[in-house]
Symmetry: C2
Subunit: 415 residues, 2 copies
Amino acid sequence: MHQIEPKFSFEILKHGPHAARLGLLQTPHGTVETPAFIFCATRAAMKSLTVEQLKAANTQIILSNTYHLMLQPGPEVMQAHGGLQKFTGWHGPMLTDSGGFQIFSLGSGNIADEIKGRRMLAQDQTLLRLSEEGAEFRSYIDGKKFLLTPEESVRVQRGLGADLIVVLDECTPFHVDKSYTRGSMDRSHRWALRSLQEYLRHDNGTQKLYGIVQGGVYPDLRKQSVDFVNSNEFFGHAVGGSLGANKQQMYDVVALTMSMLSRDRPVHLLGIGCITDIFNGVLHGVDTFDCVHPTRIARHGGALVKPWHRPDDESREHINLRNSKYKLNQDPLEPDCSCATCSNYSSGYIHYLLKAEPTLAHTLLSQHNAYFMNELMQVIRDAIQNNKFMELRKQWGILEHHKTIENELLLLDSL
Amino acid sequence: MHQIEPKFSFEILKHGPHAARLGLLQTPHGTVETPAFIFCATRAAMKSLTVEQLKAANTQIILSNTYHLMLQPGPEVMQAHGGLQKFTGWHGPMLTDSGGFQIFSLGSGNIADEIKGRRMLAQDQTLLRLSEEGAEFRSYIDGKKFLLTPEESVRVQRGLGADLIVVLDECTPFHVDKSYTRGSMDRSHRWALRSLQEYLRHDNGTQKLYGIVQGGVYPDLRKQSVDFVNSNEFFGHAVGGSLGANKQQMYDVVALTMSMLSRDRPVHLLGIGCITDIFNGVLHGVDTFDCVHPTRIARHGGALVKPWHRPDDESREHINLRNSKYKLNQDPLEPDCSCATCSNYSSGYIHYLLKAEPTLAHTLLSQHNAYFMNELMQVIRDAIQNNKFMELRKQWGILEHHKTIENELLLLDSL
């Protein structure tokens, strides 16, 4: 049995450049060195990786989705098993979301979803009614109706037992106007207060609650929402809501939001995980990231590789092992990678497996991509420590994004 | 790079009881302690397990199917990658079959297939023409015609590069009559001689060839076939052909065949892998077994468990984790199992994963079943070593099968 001493803290070890920071996020299940990447174990499991493989990839922290787990196996079953960590065999730090994202991400994949690398299945499109009380939806498993209120979300997350939990908010799509965004933000703030009340009512020191910054792409709304979370007793902050129609707009929204957020709390950027976006987020002070990107591209034959290992014709951040040019390739995915996949298997074998035994191919690619992300965060932390972050960005081919910092200053002036 | 010193040997360390024996089968890629189980990495990969997971389960030796690999990736690609072991990352001993089984196992699943735990997919039913020259078939991948001759089978197996290779034979179904069985056996013997010629023509000490005993359920034909393999220069023998309509008939055929085979060569029993059948085979002197059973049942939610861990109502050799009685079960699959799955995960979690994330469930169950089979063979070897094999059989609830030994004696008398 793991004896848990309930203890949380967030300590900043080093600042700079710009708003970047090196930190330690302590939870009862272990300490996370930040900046860190949080892997999505959506249904209390990574699709293709065991806990042992996750650990071998140097994973620090994972998250699960409350929406899926409240439907299956349900919080009662999870509690009977002693909570997420005991159930999954992952005894390290965990986060759960509120359940809201899956309920609200309806429709046919808006641009914000695209940017966040998320796509919804038709079966997940189950929102029935949104009211002040909460969101009513239909289970995609058995058609049963559920009402997810802020209180219920916290109650379910308490049953799931992750270290870090999140308030319920409405996730607005990109295309809604300012008036809708304002109304939704105000309601999300009221929900956040109800979440906080419910959390405090039963707080026994084993979980900490994150508030979420809303406000879409509107600087004045973002400021209102930042003021709201800053002034309430949240342990940490998550940057949520629509981040815009394109990457530059996302960078602007993140930069502006980060510049106003309380500097003493950990900040999580929801659903963002491309390499360029991570470098940008870190520069603006983001401490943790999550995204399905590394494991999703693995299931499509994609391996994350450093820019200097990418073929000249490859503009994405990964290579596609389905390409027949890998057929006779005896090299590992990356020559300098120490992951379990690169240590034992060639690119040609993975190319073959994608056709002949895709399940194993997905495992091998997921192993590599998880190790890759953890190593990326490690070199980022080392670079901040050694005052070489801007050099590292350059080495990784990240554009300068001066525009973002200029925009941030202009927007701040206008507020 | 692995420096291989081509060296093969088969040494019997201890005899008894009955015809059981403890042995060492040495190959250039390592030594196999026998009796041993050979796992099916059909398409040069286990479906749900990495090589590291296979090793952690104490696996000694695996096999791949020539039929699948000659079509994809093809022997040329395999040779370009340096052969099966380098390609797959499995650097231990390996066996390939001749390619014949998949071509000949047409039709709608005969009883012999049932007994061997094999079922064919419609896509695999591709035999076009069977002649003295060989078997013509159509690729299930691209419809291309192939002619598999004895020489071609050996040539392809040479390209694949496994340590142990097998002559091409016709795999007759259970329902054919004695006349067909005799004609087929005679042709298989001619094919075996052609396989042997082709093998000897290029023998460089890196591979060894197994002959196959045919003769169906007919004692006189089995005797002729045993005489044939005994009198030719095969390194080892495989017991093939139809083993009958039911378990008792299979035991009788195995017992009779084993009683006549040369005692100084290793013997492999093709496609047999249930626990009871293994105890029976070992008693009659079988050294190695192969079967898709342990990994196939894993993909259907099955976990192999020792008889004393089975519920009273369970007559099979495994439990089904899909059963809702496991929903709240916090125990591992077996309380005394040290496999990676039982060390880290509960039965209830696996029950849940079978619904929510089946890929990971299959990995966890395959890990357990592979470890289980290797541990079973280890306790069998220990029992032979310590003169406790008959006690072990009893402990595992194996019926006495005196009938088999009586039948064997009667049949031997009649020859």
